[in-house]
Subunit: 348 residues, 3 copies
């Protein structure tokens, strides 16, 4: 495809030779002849000079470059769309595989694809054009919206509800029992029935082997547009707002409510029963047992305001030096005191 | 069901109108007309005034309230039992699904339910009334006790032993190979056969996608009554005592022995070959490469005594202030020293 | 088997009675009559006196002991090999299980074993003597080398390539979609097609429920001989070098490149786009958003040089004491200042 045509399709400004023939999208270091590459992360601007790509997608703010470029105010989105011009996703096999075990009363939407060995429980509803890959298990009374994709080894447990255009990567567990036990007087734990549901709203994507638990009462909810990475844990009764991003291995304990547009770095932990305000940012490996206000940016374990945390962590490696300085001060003050007391005595 | 009847069944003291008709158990903020709610977490006591529930389960120590209440010294356990009065768990399909692949010499107890596409290996024994959901794999020579529930995509590997009334949530892996490799002189790693077993004792529950590894020699053991949340890792040869609680994403490295009634917060990490005493508490995100004494309460990474940790973490955000104070002291001491030395010189 | 014969097979020096009959390999505390045990971890040297084992494998550097011993400069490797003398691994069922769903154009190597309900997609190639346990899913166009073992509930997604002698424990997901979304002006996230592959080179082992993501463009690579424990996350486009060891629950964010022979402790987190040099060691629970030089040993979150970190963490519990000492100093300096100023005034 000619670069000029790509420019038109992506609504980018063309700078340089539009007749260059593009056959592939590639990373800046891997790209070669015929490849269109991109820079959206500042870290890679210096790689522009050495790339062997035939053309490059760049932000409007990057100075002119030697190779043909497509200019836009959003190079990352343009890259995402460019990929789609060249990538032909594999069509799932149409229809229902003969080995799928589907309850008689389950309702399957038009155009759905159901793979080998899928098990669809009684009372389930599956929307139009849903792709169920092989080896997916829906327990009874599950509802899946339109245009969803459920990958192999996904489980959706009884009564849970999944919206439209939801993507569940391989091994996701929706609606496993919440971790609820009442301690008894003999020191054992009494299991609390987990009778609630999990609701996954539209346009959510959930990463491989992530688990979202059901609660004893009430719903665990992931709201519209939120994206959860792999190996994330969402506890019973937690709520994740709209358009949140939770990186891999994050843990959200039970009943915690996370607002909208919250960004959570990898391996962050939230204690239970917290409120995290809209737009908050929690950096990687932080942990908190306190609420976080809307717009707050916090770090550390226990977490506090990010700018202050940066200052404290910068000093932390110098603690031995601080220790020495205190010791030196103590020595000097002791000496001074001796001198001054001698002077006082002499002065008497 | 009338509130007075619920009071009787739960052995609670009734305060207020016992004729109120209860149709559901619900959380304090979601509850409405006909709902029985509860407060067991102090954090929610203030919500009692605003709940629209028709009645409430409360501890004996909470002052009188405006709505009918059920009083008990253990409101959480009463709530757990109240739930069971209203929740009818779905019965698994009886018998063995025709698609299950069951070795000829496997023994299946009376009343067991085995779901679609389960695979039961040679020499396996499954106790009475066990529920094996669809898509469970038991490798050869596995023993499962009575009244267990194994959810979809559970694997129990060869030779492992599971006790009675054990619940394995979806995706649990029991008996994967331990992470054992001997370094060779050329810098590669030589795999050590993992010939041990995993033993899961009675009344254990294990959360979704949690992994419990087998060891090279000897058994990895989870003792009676312990509860593990989702995405927990238990390394080869580790032992977890009785009635322990391990929250989500905890990691226990190989050969570590955890005593009984130990409480472990989310994302905690234990190095290998440690001893953790009975009744110890390790708060969330802590990490230790040292033994923890019985009854110890520790926090932080590296972990130390919790009360001291609370004091240190309270100071940590003020490190820049401490730094300034040291700098100011140094300046003042320098000035004082100058003055004093001048005085000394004058005094000479 | 006689101890003398074992000595010969393992190339160990025999000390003591070679006629002892050995029937099993066992841990030092569990071993009894007829057992051969070993000590490779210094922590267990003191257990030699109390073991009831009939013989023991020991390093050349350990002083003489009372029971017959096999001496070697590498007791851990000798132990690994001793295990193989007594452990007969279960042979997988030969051939292809009739319930396996295998695409017509898939190529299966001689001697491969394919278990019940495995699903092998179109265009897949499986090497000789591969063991595919029940319930493995290979998406289309996957290539698996020779002598691999894929355990139950492993998924290898479309186009991914697995080398020779690779072991994938239960529930591993290779090639799930990377966590790539472009933010839009309305605050939603636009999914970026993940068109890259995952390449797993020869002799890699990957632990249960670990996930390795594919990237938008380019390959995610795990190089020859590296070992990943359970519940590890490898992000899109990351590269792990040769002979690395990643302990459980480690997270490697996208595009990070880890060199060769890097040792990573449990629950460590790497931010994206980093370079970690050959031979680096990152201790458990550390986290870094900075590059790590070759041979670097780092700890903490944020991580810095391990020896300095040990010193700082030793001081951290004494922060309250430091605080008091600063307060005392301030008081003393204030008093001294008063005295000195009085002296000055008097001196005037």
């Amino acid at each position: 495809m000619k670069l000029s045509e790509i420019a038109g399709r992506l609504n980018c400004r063309l700078a340089g030779d539009g007749d260059v023939e593009i056959v592939r999208i590639a990373g800046i270091d891997e790209a070669g002849q015929g490849d269109l590459t991109f820079v959206s992360n500042r870290k890679y601007v210096s790689h522009i000079k050495t790339t062997r790509a035939s053309a490059i997608i760049l932000g409007d703010d990057i100075p002119p470059v030697d190779i043909p470029s497509l200019r836009t105010d959003d190079p990352y989105l343009a890259f995402a769309r460019a990929l789609e011009l060249f990538f032909v996703p594999r069509e799932p096999d149409p229809g229902i595989h003969p080995t799928a075990v589907i309850a008689e009363d389950a309702q399957i939407g038009a155009g759905a694809s159901i793979g080998a060995y899928a098990v669809i429980g009684s009372g389930c509803t599956i929307g139009e054009r849903v792709t169920i890959h092989p080896h997916v298990v829906l327990y009874p009374e599950v509802s899946i919206g339109r245009d969803c994709v459920l990958h192999s080894f996904v489980t959706v447990r009884e009564d849970c509800v999944v919206g439209n255009r939801v993507i569940l990567q391989n091994g996701v567990v929706i609606g496993g029992d919440g971790f609820g036990f009442a301690p008894t007087k003999t020191g054992t734990f009494y299991k609390i029935c987990q009778t609630g549901r999990v609701l996954i709203e539209d346009d959510v994507e959930i990463g491989a082997n992530t688990t979202v638990d059901r609660a004893a009462v009430g719903d665990t909810v992931i709201r519209r547009g939120s994206k959860l990475d792999n190996l994330v844990q969402v506890g019973h009764g937690a709520q994740i707002g709209e358009d949140c991003v939770l990186a891999a291995q994050v843990g959200v304990a039970g009943s915690t409510r996370i607002g909208s547009r919250v960004m959570v770095g990898g391996q962050v932990g939230f204690a239970g029963h917290l409120d995290v305000g809209d737009g908050a940012i929690i950096t990687a490996q932080s942990g908190t047992s306190h609420d976080i206000p809307a717009g707050g940016v916090v770090s550390g374990s226990p977490a506090f305001e990010n700018a202050a945390w940066l200052r404290s962590t910068a000093i932390f490696p110098r603690l031995p030096q601080l220790m020495r300085r205190i010791r030196d001060l103590e020595k000097e003050v002791r000496q001074l005191k001796n001198i001054v007391e001698n002077q006082e005595n002499r002065g008497d």
